[in-house]
């Protein structure tokens, strides 16, 4: 009998349908991978199972009995543990306090037994001895830890509750090879004990290494469930995308010039280590590698949002010391963040305001001449094929893809010569992505230079003229021409972490 069964789950957020009849079945002794492109609904489904979201429709059964959770507490009490993608740690509290939050060992008089708490935490930390780092101990403050350390602490927190069903939502995003291995060991141990694990990851290798069965979701529905042995990478990708994978050859019209638009020498900062490269005019230079290896940090540093400690940057031959977005804007540099909710859109404000914000900043006008501005932005709106009901409607009404288009249009309107794109297509539908690629191509043929960071490896390899592979804050490989293959990318990306760069071979995928 399955431990957990979710069927016919529906969930809507305002106008957006996140789940449209999704199913999932979990057997004991099983690691069940859940995959799908961004926005397919896998995180939403898991949040409903975990009790932190309420389904609009659908049925949830635990051990054959129907259950309905009023909140995370009830789900936790029923034995469901969740690793949240955006973590659920309290930054100002210690590791011990976080791992055992709500489950602190009690002593005399019902008070928290601090010694027992510390010891239990030390024992938990020991599970990841060797991959956690010496600065992590029970009394360390979570805010002082790095992203990968925080992820491991979150794993410990989930396991500390001794759950029967564990959901890992992108639990390995910031982890290196060894850390991932340590987590997998723990997951296999859970499996042995008869528990069940739902494992969400964007790394295909992990799916095939760890999972027993896999479910693919697309557009809020479950489209495929199969034992791992009975399926293949291509079959899964096909199920995710829903149509035959388009050939790698793309209609490309731009040709990078020889002149250098932006040049970096020996850049160093908190997350970057001796990064040097030259971005040519009209070129799309891709930043690849595993998530969080410095790609975002480089872009933000170039835009003046993160400090640069060492090294130099030159734009068109002149030195650039980016002190902030406004200074970067004056040098004709634009930045688009992939995290549009946090860094992109002003959700409750009208589309018009969102579109003209940077234009107003650049123009240094104090009055808003509505008609005139509308005239300026309309061409860009059309170019991006941005559709909306009215300019006065709040941006939150738009789909994720269209919201991203608004942010891009905002910057296109100031006609930048260097465009920094920080994972702009995350969580966006295929059609919008195609529109964006076409726009990027157009821009390049007009002489705009683009630095593109993408967590979608296929996209990066297909769109970029050259790809810089990041690992541990350093550029460990540069792929161009025939070398732009996934094998080469992964080889470089997974290169001995914090070690020497890997040899890149031009082997076929």
């Amino acid at each position: 009998m399955p431990i957990l069964e979710a069927s016919g789950v529906r969930k809507q957020f305002g106008g957006v349908v996140a789940l449209d009849g999704a199913h999932l079945t979990l057997e004991p002794h099983e690691v069940h991978a859940l995959v799908g492109s961004n926005g397919c609904g896998k995180s939403t489904l898991c949040k409903i199972i975990a009790g932190s979201l309420a389904a609009d429709e659908g049925r949830l059964e635990l051990d054959g009995r129907e259950v309905s959770f009023a909140g995370p507490r009830e789900a936790a009490a029923a034995g469901i543990g969740v690793f949240y993608q955006d973590l659920s740690l309290i930054p100002e509290m210690t590791v011990a306090e976080n791992v055992y939050l709500g489950r602190e060992p009690r002593g005399a008089g019902g008070l928290v037994d601090r010694v027992a708490l510390r010891d239990a935490t030390a024992r938990a930390l020991a599970q990841f001895r060797g991959v956690l780092g010496a600065d992590v101990h029970a009394e360390a403050r979570v805010a002082d830890l790095s992203a990968d350390q925080c992820q491991l602490i979150e794993v410990l927190k989930v396991l500390a509750a001794d759950p029967r069903v564990v959901i890992f939502d992108e639990a390995t995003a910031a982890l290196d090879r060894n850390q991932v291995g340590a987590v997998f060991t723990r997951i296999r141990a859970l499996k042995e004990q008869g528990r069940a694990v739902i494992f969400i990851t964007h790394r295909m290798d992990e799916v095939f290494e760890l999972a027993d069965r896999v479910t693919v979701m697309r557009n809020g529905r479950t489209v495929l469930t199969a034992p791992i042995a009975a399926t293949s990478r291509d079959a899964l990708v096909q199920a995710m995308v829903g149509e035959a994978i388009a050939g790698a050859a793309r209609d490309r019209r731009h040709e990078p010039a020889e002149t250098v638009a932006l040049e970096a020498q020996g850049l160093g900062s908190a997350k970057l280590d001796n990064v040097s490269f030259a971005l040519r005019r009209g070129e799309i230079l891709g930043l690849g590698g595993l998530h969080g290896q410095g790609q975002s940090d480089l872009l933000r540093a170039l835009f003046g949002v993160l400090p640069i400690v060492r090294g130099t940057v030159r734009v068109d031959g002149h030195p650039l010391a980016p002190s902030g977005p406004r200074a970067a804007m004056r040098r004709s540099i634009a930045y688009v963040s992939g995290d549009r909710a946090r860094f992109g859109v002003l959700a409750i404000r009208p589309i018009f305001e969102n579109l003209v914000l940077s234009l107003l900043a650049r123009e240094r006008r104090w009055a808003v001449a509505r008609k005139k501005l509308e005239g300026v932005i309309t061409p860009f709106v059309e170019r991006l094929k941005l559709k909306f009901s009215s300019l006065q409607a709040p941006v939150s009404e738009l789909s994720g893809g269209n919201q991203q288009k608004v942010v891009i249009a905002r910057w296109l309107a100031v006609v930048p010569s260097i465009l920094l794109l920080d994972d702009p297509t995350k969580g966006i539908d295929i059609q919008t992505k195609q529109d964006l690629y076409a726009t990027m191509d157009q821009l390049c043929s007009q002489g705009v230079s683009i630095l593109l960071h993408s967590s979608d490896d296929e996209e990066l390899l297909a769109v970029a003229d050259r790809v810089l592979v990041f690992n541990g804050g350093r550029v460990v490989a540069e792929l161009s021409g025939e070398q732009r293959t996934r094998v080469a990318l992964y080889q470089a990306a997974y290169a001995s972490a914090r070690g020497a760069p890997a040899e890149v071979t031009a082997a076929s995928p």
Partner: protein, 317 residues
């Protein structure tokens, strides 16, 4: 261990330093400062403020705020005095009055907690509104300062037990209570709620219950302050708690507790309250011209508030 690290582990360290400095200055200006009787009367004067600040601390730790604290003090003050006076000042009336006062504080706190955690009103406006209501009720019960309580009440308050001043005993008892609470699962849940409410909720922390609990404790401590004022002034005054609300917030911030929640604690707030009182003393004994006192005090407090915030931030930037 560098300074930033120590300040983070024990956010009240800076307040402690300032407190000691003020004690020194105070002693220089008023040599009798350290004498037993003077010290005791200082504690008696600072105690109500410290009590309100302690209650406010729990609310602030949960990232909320209680702008009705001072009005609860007034309300309890007049209710207690009215009961005692109305029942003829007997021992029973005193006991009953005190009990009702405490219950009233708890009820007021519960009301605040329900508005904020269940009805999900914004804390600033909700507690301001409830504060207006409490102040109004206080005025209704006792339109003008007056009524008397039997001498035994203020004699007990300003007196001593086994050589230890009553006010000091009260303070020690309250500190003991705070220490107890600081080791309770509730306190961990409280800080988690203030640190990251969404994460706390996802982790299974009963966030609503915790917030209601914090407001209830705040109401209780405001009530205690109201009782202390009965002991100190021996009469009732519907406006007595007026300035205490904002002063309690000042004391909390001075003590190193962050308004955004999670960081800080009761120790700092007690020190903060005493710092405010000592600043008052220092200005008085420095014999600055009367008209300058308010401004100087305001400037010192502003500097201290700014300094406290900047230092507490430290490395986080």
């Amino acid at each position: 261990m560098n300074l930033a690290l120590s300040t983070r582990r024990r956010p009240y360290l800076l307040a402690l330093a300032v407190f000691l400095l003020l004690c020194v200055i105070n002693t220089i200006l008023q040599p009798s400062f350290l004498r037993f009787g003077v010290a005791a009367s200082n504690v008696a004067a600072f105690l109500p403020m410290a009590l309100v600040a302690i209650g406010q601390t729990y609310v602030v730790l949960a990232s909320d705020i209680d702008l009705s604290a001072g009005t609860i003090v007034s309300l309890v003050n007049v209710v207690v005095v009215s009961i005692i006076d109305g029942m003829g000042g007997s021992g029973v009336s005193i006991a009953l009055g005190f009990a009702v006062g405490l219950a009233l504080g708890i009820a007021a706190g519960l009301f605040n907690g329900l508005c904020v955690a269940v009805l999900r009103f914004q804390p600033i406006v909700a507690t301001f509104a409830s504060g207006i209501v409490f102040a109004g009720i206080a005025l209704w019960i006792l339109p003008e300062a007056g009524k008397q309580v039997p001498p035994v009440v203020y004699e007990a308050y300003s007196g001593a037990l086994l050589g230890v001043p009553t006010v000091v005993l009260i303070l020690l008892a309250v500190i003991g209570f705070a220490q107890f609470v600081a080791r309770s699962p509730f306190y961990y849940a409280l800080r988690a709620t203030g640190g990251n409410m969404q994460a706390a909720y996802q982790s299974g922390v009963p966030v609503a219950r915790v917030r209601i609990g914090a407001y209830t404790i705040s109401g209780l401590f405001s009530a205690l302050a109201g009782l202390a004022l009965v002991g100190e002034t021996a009469s009732g005054d519907p406006l007595i708690g007026g300035a205490l609300t904002l002063s309690s917030v000042t004391a909390v911030v001075l003590g190193g507790t962050a308004l955004k929640g999670c960081i800080g604690g009761v120790a700092g707030s007690i020190l903060g309250a005493f710092i405010l009182g000592l600043i008052n003393n220092v200005i008085f004994f420095a014999q600055l011209p009367f008209e300058w006192q308010g401004l100087i005090q305001g400037l010192i407090i502003l500097a201290a508030l700014a300094g406290g915030v900047v230092m507490a931030r430290g490395k986080n930037g």
